[in-house]
């Protein structure tokens, strides 16, 4: 059983499917082919509910990436979750997640996509509450309920789609793009995508979902689940670029990117920092998508999936070695103690920052340059570049805290870098996050983008990055008495570090009044008035009537017989005298 564990089997299966998907996608890309498969489930009143599969290079490539990351994550979980009693259940949940992701990716039909969409919501809830404690339950509930808003929006979109006689939206997007109904559908789908991809105002669940096991965070909450919304909008991109929806989305996603970047700079939880950086990258994808460059969004989605999964897997290895502590203030000097993990960590961090020739560089640099040559307002432009700087800033801050200096954890630690199963999983992704960007770049874009910029705009990205890295170092620098100088501005830091109070707004803010009024109603009605005048009082009264009745029954039989005779006499009197 040592070699034939569920992890190994699933690893082999997933990686082989992933490779075949990849090769198929190359074939499709080369021949410019699309396969469209429909299976009619039920036909009712000329509306047919169909299961639709759309196989083109985009879905196949995305599937191959998801499967590859999933296979490596499962391989990695073999060691990470090895001391877990229910590892089989865990792996099965992950596999179910992968399955629903597949269903989501290949369905261009609003009804059949719901299968994958709801599957994602359900399975991700099960995965978030996997470590069964109050914190996970709360996080899971927040995740599930935030996603439920999107599910409802999707259901509403299905209802609107009834107008057109079919739910295969890809056929209607272009033809109906100027109609009000299509605008409604588009806005509802956008709402759904925003909840899934944790855009403002639904951002708070993504950092909360870090209560899940780290392999889950690597697979679900960084590279695949959260990109489902982006992917859905990529399919819907025509609506976005032809209506005000795109402008709204540009604003919201830009703000998300900005907010998450700021938040990550003041967070001390390792996984939450990475989650916030995921959020910021999601904002980047969404915003470039809302400007109409869906291929760029797809490109960044794929490269981001690679290095973000790697980042999370490194974080998991570090957390293992830190005795399950996630606080970056307790880390330090890890580059000496865990060199290989640190190398992976740094590569993925640099890829995230857009270090030239790593995976993130190709997509991110291209996005920023496209933004520079596009016709875009000053505010969005500011958000883009400032957030890029913030990305570098929090990445360097993370490196500063965890990699450099001395170890700040307890005295007795056994740091090691010899968890080979985990490391092998990580090294697989390491290669991908080094070469992935250039590989995809050559694959996806048959014709190079023509970018013509003045030198100050061309250098702006570089300048912003350098400045960001410097500020990242400065805000986290501590002075002699270990006082973080940025904390002097405490109110501002609290505001920015808590995601602009969004977790409070979407939990306490939503439920405060309903909960209080609910308590009031329960106390004064359910346990008060309606209990007193309802059941209890009725019961009391009936019991009393019963007592009175038995008072009457207590008499002797002759009294009753006498009364009967009297009654007969009365009747007789009436008979005689009337």
């Amino acid at each position: 059983m040592k070699y034939l564990s569920i992890c190994s089997i699933s690893f082999v299966n997933l990686i082989s499917i992933s490779l075949s998907c990849f090769l198929l996608s190359l074939y499709f890309l080369l021949n410019n082919m699309i396969y469209f498969i429909e299976w009619e489930v039920v036909s009712l009143n000329s509306m047919s509910i169909v299961m639709t599969f759309l196989l083109d290079w985009m879905s196949l490539l995305f599937m191959s990436f998801v499967l590859m990351i999933a296979s490596l994550v499962i391989f990695y979980s073999k060691e990470y979750m090895s001391s877990d009693e229910n590892i089989n259940r865990f792996i099965m949940l992950v596999l179910m997640f992968v399955l629903s992701m597949m269903l989501l990716i290949i369905s261009p039909n609003l009804i059949s996509i719901l299968l994958g969409w709801d599957g994602l919501g359900l399975v991700s809830y099960c995965l978030v509450i996997y470590f069964q404690n109050i914190k996970s339950y709360n996080a899971g509930m927040l995740t599930a309920l935030s996603n439920r808003i999107g599910d409802v929006a999707l259901l509403l979109a299905i209802a609107w789609m009834l107008n057109y006689g079919s739910w295969n939206y890809i056929f209607y997007l272009e033809v109906m793009q100027n109609e009000f109904e299509m605008l409604m559908i588009g806005s509802l789908v956008m709402l759904a995508a925003m909840t899934k991809s944790a855009q403002i105002p639904f951002s708070s669940w993504l950092p909360a979902a870090m209560a899940a096991p780290t392999p889950v965070s690597a697979l679900v909450h960084s590279s695949t689940l959260v990109t489902a919304g982006v992917y859905l909008l990529i399919r819907f991109n025509i609506i976005l670029s032809t209506s005000w929806l795109g402008q709204l989305l540009l604003l919201l996603s830009g703000l998300t990117m900005f907010m998450a970047g700021l938040g990550a700079n003041f967070e001390f939880d390792l996984k939450k920092i990475i989650a916030l950086s995921t959020l910021s990258q999601l904002g980047l994808m969404m915003s470039i998508l809302s400007m109409g460059f869906y291929k760029l969004a797809m490109f960044h989605l794929l490269t981001h999936a690679l290095f973000k999964a790697l980042l999370f897997m490194c974080a998991g290895a570090i957390i293992h070695n830190m005795n399950n502590s996630q606080d970056i203030r307790l880390m330090g000097g890890l580059s000496i103690h865990m060199p290989l993990t640190s190398a992976c960590f740094n590569v993925s961090n640099l890829a995230l920052c857009g270090m030239p020739f790593l995976a993130g560089f190709y997509s991110k640099d291209m996005i920023l340059e496209i933004v520079s040559i596009s016709n875009i307002n000053m505010f969005s432009f500011f958000l883009y570049f400032f957030s890029t700087g913030l990305t570098v800033s929090y990445s360097f801050r993370l490196v500063y805290y965890s990699m450099t200096g001395d170890l700040n954890c307890g005295s007795l630690n056994m740091l090691n870098d010899e968890s080979w199963v985990m490391l092998r999983g990580m090294l697989g992704l390491l290669i991908m996050s080094i070469i992935g960007g250039s590989m995809l770049n050559w694959l996806i874009f048959p014709i190079p983008y023509m970018i013509c910029l003045p030198s100050y705009l061309k250098l702006l990205t570089l300048f912003v990055c350098i400045f960001g890295g410097l500020s990242g170092y400065l805000i986290s620098m501590t002075n002699l008495y270990s006082l973080n100088k940025s904390l002097l501005n405490y109110n501002l830091v609290t505001f920015l570090g808590s995601m602009w109070f969004m977790p409070y707004i979407s939990t306490y803010g939503m439920i405060f009044y309903p909960l209080n009024y609910g308590q009031l109603v329960v106390k004064s009605f359910d346990q008060g008035w309606s209990e007193y005048f309802g059941g209890q009082h009725l019961y009391y009264k009936l019991t009393n009537y019963s007592k009175t009745l038995f008072l009457m029954h207590n008499n002797s039989l002759k009294i009753y017989l006498m009364l009967f005779v009297f009654w007969i006499l009365i009747l007789f009197n009436f008979l005689l005298f009337l």
Partner: protein, 334 residues
């Protein structure tokens, strides 16, 4: 055995007679043969009960005889009974005989002294003759009052009851209210109601008789060794109470429908509300048994019930529980 035969003959005479005098004769024969069945030399309670029964019934018979003579005097031997006060007197006498509400006071007291089989006869067979005679009387006001009082008293009286016999007595009064109301509309519905009621009471009294159960706490502690018997017994309780999926709901359903068709909404509302109260206390009994949170005795004896009885009981219980479904199946069969 002789007395039972005579008792049956008495009832049949009443039911088949075409004059009040014949009906009175049948009732007397019935009464006089039922008294020896009731009395048991070794038991003071049953003697007292038989005496009570005799006194009440004799008084009622006297009044019945008196009023029927009166009727004949007034109407020249004609059997016309549209004369309201005369027929009200007859009605009162018959209500007293059957134990309906304003004249029901002898009924629970008497039930307390009977064995279960006698109680069953009192609850079912002894009602046939008076109810049949009531159906001849075309007078509504007294009957309406009696129906309302019967259902209400039957419901409220059973609420605080711990004696099973009294509980059954009040339940019988409640059902009698329903039967009287069905009598106002159609005789066939009354017949159906009566048959179902007799069947359901028979199942319960059959079990009570075998296990000599007379009080509620015996119910909880007795059936420790067989949960099936216990559950089915309580299901029969619910069936008697008229809870929808069981057979007991069917006659109530018919009556409810007929009363609705006759626009008797006020009466119907009262009846259903009071039946809800009966259902409440049946449920309250069953609840603690179904939920299994009752105290069990450790010294409970083994139950000995021979297999014939068990089979009979289980077959009847099957019909009592699934009867409504079966009847709807028959409906689709034809």
């Amino acid at each position: 055995m002789l007395f039972i035969t005579i008792m049956i003959i008495g009832t049949l005479i009443t039911v088949t007679s075409n004059s009040w005098l014949g009906a009175w004769m049948g009732l007397e024969i019935n009464l006089l043969s039922f008294i020896p069945l009731l009395s048991d030399n070794n038991n003071l309670m049953s003697t007292e009960a038989s005496l009570k029964y005799f006194l009440t019934q004799a008084l009622a018979s006297t009044v019945l005889l008196f009023s029927s003579i009166l009727l004949m005097l007034k109407n020249n031997m004609n059997n016309e009974i549209n004369e309201s006060f005369t027929s009200m007197i007859i009605m009162s006498a018959l209500l007293l005989k059957s134990g309906a509400a304003p004249f029901h006071f002898w009924f629970p007291n008497m039930m307390e002294g009977l064995t279960w089989m006698n109680a069953l006869m009192l609850m079912t067979w002894q009602k046939i003759a008076p109810l049949m005679l009531i159906s001849y009387l075309n007078i509504k006001n007294l009957l309406l009052i009696s129906v309302i009082l019967s259902v209400v008293i039957g419901a409220i009286g059973g609420l605080n009851q711990t004696s099973l016999r009294k509980l059954m007595a009040f339940s019988s009064i409640n059902h009698l209210g329903w039967m009287l109301s069905s009598l106002m509309i159609s005789e066939s519905i009354w017949l159906i109601y009566f048959l179902f009621y007799s069947f359901l009471s028979f199942i319960l009294t059959f079990m009570f008789n075998i296990f000599k159960l007379f009080h509620l706490n015996q119910l909880f502690s007795w059936f420790v060794s067989s949960k099936i018997l216990k559950f089915s017994l309580f299901m029969n309780f619910l069936s008697l109470g008229g809870l929808p999926p069981f057979l007991g709901f069917l006659p109530k359903w018919l009556v409810i429908q007929q009363l609705t068709l006759c626009n008797q909404y006020f009466l119907l509302t009262l009846m259903m509300m009071s039946t809800l109260i009966t259902l409440f206390f049946y449920l309250r009994i069953c609840y603690s048994a179904f939920m299994l949170n009752y105290f069990e005795n450790n010294w409970v004896m083994e139950m000995n019930m021979n297999s014939n009885n068990t089979n009979l009981y289980l077959i009847m219980t099957f019909f009592s529980i699934f009867g409504l479904f079966l009847i709807s199946l028959f409906f689709f069969m034809f």
